[in-house]
Amino acid sequence: MNEPLLSVENLSVVFTTREGPHTPVSDVSFSLSAGETLGVVGESGSGKSLTMLSLLQLLPNGARAQAARAQLGDRDLLALSRSDLDRIRGREIAIVFQDPLTALNPVVSVGRQITEVLRHHFKVDKTQARIRAIELLSRVGISDPVLRLRQYPHEFSGGMRQRVTIAMALAGEPRILIADEPTTALDVTVQAQIVSLIADLLAQTGMGVVWVTHDLALLARIADRVMVMFAGRIMESASCEELFARPQHPYTRALLANLRESTAPPPGATADPAPRGCPFATRCAWAMDICRSSMPPPTRAAHGGQVACWALHP
């Protein structure tokens, strides 16, 4: 097994509020190797996006990340200086967001937005940057790139805009791409196009990808490993094949049952979790007394991955 590009241990995100600290992400640990795709699935509010944003110090005001370890190679991501961060954002780790319309500046031409990234990270002149931008646009499947460079985001359709943000993410030749629900705002046929595009780019570049989504089925096609999050915690993680074939955690089982249209009762709304217990306990058919009083630690599961559940605890 090669050295992981990224390794995170016990990462938490804490918001300081008037009612006291609020922890939307607790004790998240994972690693990512080159050429690997890690799928992170969870509902809104499960902390999946916050986890990723915290690694680039992109948390909103009032929030702070802490971790036993958050290393990119030999650098500590949470202790970077402003100038180190500038060199890492976009260059080492790039992000593609859900909504390409807000990710692009509406009053700057697409070409300028891409060349800006190139000129920030590489010693290139305007002409070289322009040539590279044209290459990038054709690589993400945008036809007529010379004309398209001059255009503004409103002149692109939703799918084409998302291709532009992908081109921008690739511009820094990052080692890690974080795809934060990049296809959620798109129609299903366009979603399929973007998924194939990112899969092809991955095969060509050997990037490590973290794909964040609420759609577990989507990960079946693209992920090598899957991490299931609920209320800020990792409930289960395993290789993609194993997770779909032998889901362990009751929450994962419920998600899959819903996708497979079986009659198993789907879980209810994210209720306010017990402060110390398992956040899923209020919706779980297997919940016992211990589930309401303490959070189960992650343990090795039958499928070779990890699961945090008292009912499955050895």
Binding site: S157, T189, A192, A220, F244, P265, P266
Partner: protein
């Protein structure tokens, strides 16, 4: 014998531009949201409506509810023509036809209590007064699985799923016969979608409702609909009973939509070498000639490029608008 029809639309067309003098002189064609759609909604059924954004799903729903003006075509409700209904008879009709929207945050006024929001249709239609209003609001809330005491609370106190239930309660309050559900599950988490589908199904049986169920998610539509209509650029391109449509899609666009749904099976997904449908929905302002789908279709022939295929029967209850169906 004919099936009992709730709606019958013939050649329904919705244009989004008034034929102003300037537009006529400049020869600019109006943008058509709906192009000569023939559609029926049977009493007691759930008709699913799928298609990509911009395909005209919401426009069709709004046309049936007489929210969008029909530029041409005829619309019948329970056998009676309502195409040009105005004033008091239209208001009386609207009590019987309700709509629920995608965004439960935008659909509730943040400054009025849940109870008042639900009571509003009762007041507007003068269906109840005083004590009876309170009782009917409580009854509606209970029908959607919320306690009656929630009536005193404000919308911000509720989660997305609860708000959507409140919106359903408001729609139910004046005892409609028909509800158009426009992407009502899209803003909800997957684990909540199952609950909401169950609630809608249960209310339908309990109250004898008819639904038009709009969604871009074919997985959801499959679970709730009796028949499904597939729309593309303002037209219905295929209509069939749900099992038939999913098992034997006849239109190449329907096949492409079904092929694009990810399945929760990594082995099958990876073995599948599927070709993503190229291109995107054309602009309704510049529709291609002939079949609107021909630019993205592998089977397109010269005829498809010049002639619009009509919606024709290929099996009992199964209609498709394609010259080269599967």
């Amino acid at each position: 014998m004919s099936v009992n029809l709730m709606f019958e639309g013939r050649q329904l067309t919705v244009s989004f531009e008034r034929p102003s003098l300037l537009n006529r002189l400049s020869g600019r064609a109006p943008v058509l949201g709906l192009r000569a759609v023939d559609v029926t909604v049977r009493t007691g059924e759930t008709l699913g409506l799928v298609g990509e954004s911009g395909s005209g799903k919401s426009t069709l729903a709004r046309a049936l509810l007489r929210i969008n003006r029909l530029s041409s075509g005829a619309l019948l409700f329970q056998g009676k023509e309502i195409t040009t209904l105005e004033g008091a008879p239209l208001r009386a009709l609207r009590r019987r036809l309700q709509m629920i929207f995608q965004d439960p945050f935008g659909a509730l006024n943040p400054r009025i209590s849940v109870g008042r929001a639900i009571a509003e249709p009762l007041v507007v239609h003068d269906l109840a007064r005083g004590r009876e209003i309170v009782e009917r609001v409580a009854a509606s809330l209970e029908m959607v699985g919320l306690p009656a005491r929630f009536a005193a609370r404000m919308p911000h106190e509720f989660s997305g799923g609860q708000r959507q239930r409140i919106c359903i309660a408001r729609a139910l309050c004046c005892r409609p016969e028909f509800i158009a559900c426009d992407e009502v599950l899209s803003a909800l988490d997957i684990s909540l979608q199952g609950q909401m589908l169950e609630l809608l199904a249960q209310l339908k049986t309990q109250l004898g409702l008819t639904y038009l169920f709009i969604s871009h998610d074919l997985r959801v539509v499959k679970r709730i609909s009796d028949r499904v209509a597939v729309m593309y650029l303002g037209r219905i391109v295929e209509l069939a009973p749900t099992p038939e449509l999913y098992a034997h899609p006849a239109h190449p666009y329907t096949s492409a939509l079904l092929a694009a749904i990810p399945t929760p099976d990594p082995v099958a997904e990876r073995a599948r070498r599927f070709a993503a449908l190229p291109g995107e929905l054309p602009s309704p302002a510049h529709p291609p000639p002939g079949c609107a789908f021909h630019e993205r279709c592998a089977r397109a022939s010269a005829r498809c490029r010049s002639e619009q295929p009509p919606l024709t029967d290929i099996a009992p209850g199964h209609q498709v608008a394609c010259f080269h169906p599967n």
